[in-house]
Amino acid sequence: MDYAAQQIINALSFGAEYALLALGLAIVFSVMGLVNFAHGEVIAVGGYTMVAFAALVTANPLIIIVGAVAATALTSVALERVAFRPVRYADPTTGLLTAFGVSIVLQNLFLLFISPRPIAVTSLYFLDAPVMVFGVQISSLQIFESVTTVVVIIGLVLFLQRTTLGLAMRAASLDFEMVRLTGIRANRVFALAFLISGLLAGLACIFIMARRGSVDPHFGFNPVLKAFVACVVGGFGSLPGAVLGGFLLGAVEVAMLVLLPQEYGGLKDAFVFGIIALVLVWRPDGILSPAKEKGDKL
């Protein structure tokens, strides 16, 4: 019983992390149709910022966390301004190649100017302490992760439903030009999407760093892959889809860990992706793929 409860909590906390990651991709995709593969490097910037803060500024974890989130948010907004704005109205392939380019350039900058080797940050280990809840031992990190994700989702929903700019972002996912024709600035909508994406990257970075404790130039690859898969499963461009896809991916991963016999352990990812592929056979556009029509044409 305890074992089952623990595994369910594992699945939820993995799912929460993947949901955060997937939302970061989905929010940018929904407004500009761009799969931002550089999202992983934005997360890595957060990791390196933690390194820099811990080494040069302070050991205070709160300041390190705030610094990292600020750095990812700034990086994301800066990338929009420098790299993605010029290709904003180009076709999706151009945007995709740009994102790959940005991702590779950033990885190489990390390699060249920082270090090819992992650098440890121990300041966040305190987040990961065992706690007993109703007789089940879980990690405090899992609680933080789940709570943060729930708070983020509620905040995002309120923002997207209550504020004019949030409404404009949703409208933009359907018909960007029409949003411009209401006078709402495209630049603001895009910058905001990247800002939110950067903040989400920062939050995800905290949890990944607390678990892994080190950052290297390829730090972002795995998270962005998970985010991508979650988005594909959930339906690319749909924010609820990203959340659903994230939790589904977490659940499938934990289920495979639990169910696969020891000797097949190395094949976990193969099984996970196999199941994902089956989901896509059932729903090729993802479970909650958004409607494609552009309003009523006639």
Binding site: L165, A171, L174, R180, L181, I184, G295, D296, L298
Partner: protein, 234 residues
């Protein structure tokens, strides 16, 4: 209010409008008529800044050539575009809020939305419903209301009667004529020439990207030859 000189509009290599001139005076309703493919929507797109164009477009004497789409709206142009382009995933109320999104007087936006709901109780009843679930006529009303939410100086209407039943068309023209009576400046693009001219001060007949005829409603409507042409289109 709006003065257009020698306007050419391009879609990539294709020139859709070949140097037209037209003007809309303050408080006037001007009809831009013409058959399919005449270049009416291209003209509207050029005025809004979403199509590549040459020539001059001036709003209240100021040239708009270097003005972005958003700033043109900010300066007082509003558009109910071809096909209405309601944000179908958002509620009726949210559509109107976005329409008023650039206004500084936030408090009044809410009041204005309520006023629209009073004017069109059908929209009020469906305020929380996604815009995409409205009927064509309701969507057209919403598109016009959304455009007016920005408190524009000039309203561009691209074929507001398209695809609507005659009874609904009459309602739409009634709404436009009320707006005109309230002093709104309107550029009305229509294929429905007869009805459009009834509520317009002046009209232009566009064909193949060129203006073929222009004049007051009486002049355009009076000429037998022209009337035949127009009703042929309408």
């Amino acid at each position: 209010m709006l003065d257009i000189q020698n306007l050419r509009v391009f879609h990539g290599p294709i020139e859709a409008v070949h140097g037209i001139s037209l003007s809309v005076g303050t408080g006037q309703c001007v009809a831009l008529l013409g058959p399919n493919g005449a270049g009416k929507t291209s003209t509207i797109s050029a005025i809004c800044g979403i199509a590549q164009a040459s020539g001059t477009i001036a709003l209240e004497g100021a040239d708009l050539a270097k003005v972005t789409v958003e700033d043109r709206i900010g300066r007082g142009i509003a558009v109910s575009p071809e096909g209405r382009r309601i944000f179908s995933n958002l509620s009726v109320e949210a559509n109107l809020r976005i329409g008023g999104g650039i206004r500084a007087d936030r408090e009044n936006v809410r009041a204005d939305i309520e006023r629209w709901f009073d004017t069109f109780p059908i929209l009020g009843e469906r305020r929380a419903q996604p815009g995409g679930t409205l009927s064509g006529g309701e969507q057209q009303m919403l598109a016009i209301a959304r455009a007016l939410m920005s408190k524009p100086k000039i309203l561009l209407l691209d074929e507001p009667s398209l695809g609507l039943a005659p009874r609904i068309v009459a309602q739409v023209f009634q709404m436009i004529s009320t707006l005109r009576a309230e002093g709104m400046t309107i550029l009305l693009v229509e294929q429905n020439a007869r009805q459009a001219l009834q509520i317009s001060d002046y009209g232009y007949l566009l064909n193949n990207g060129r203006i073929q005829a222009e004049g007051t409603a009486e002049e355009l409507g009076g000429s037998k030859d022209m009337m035949a042409k127009l009703t042929g289109l309408g």
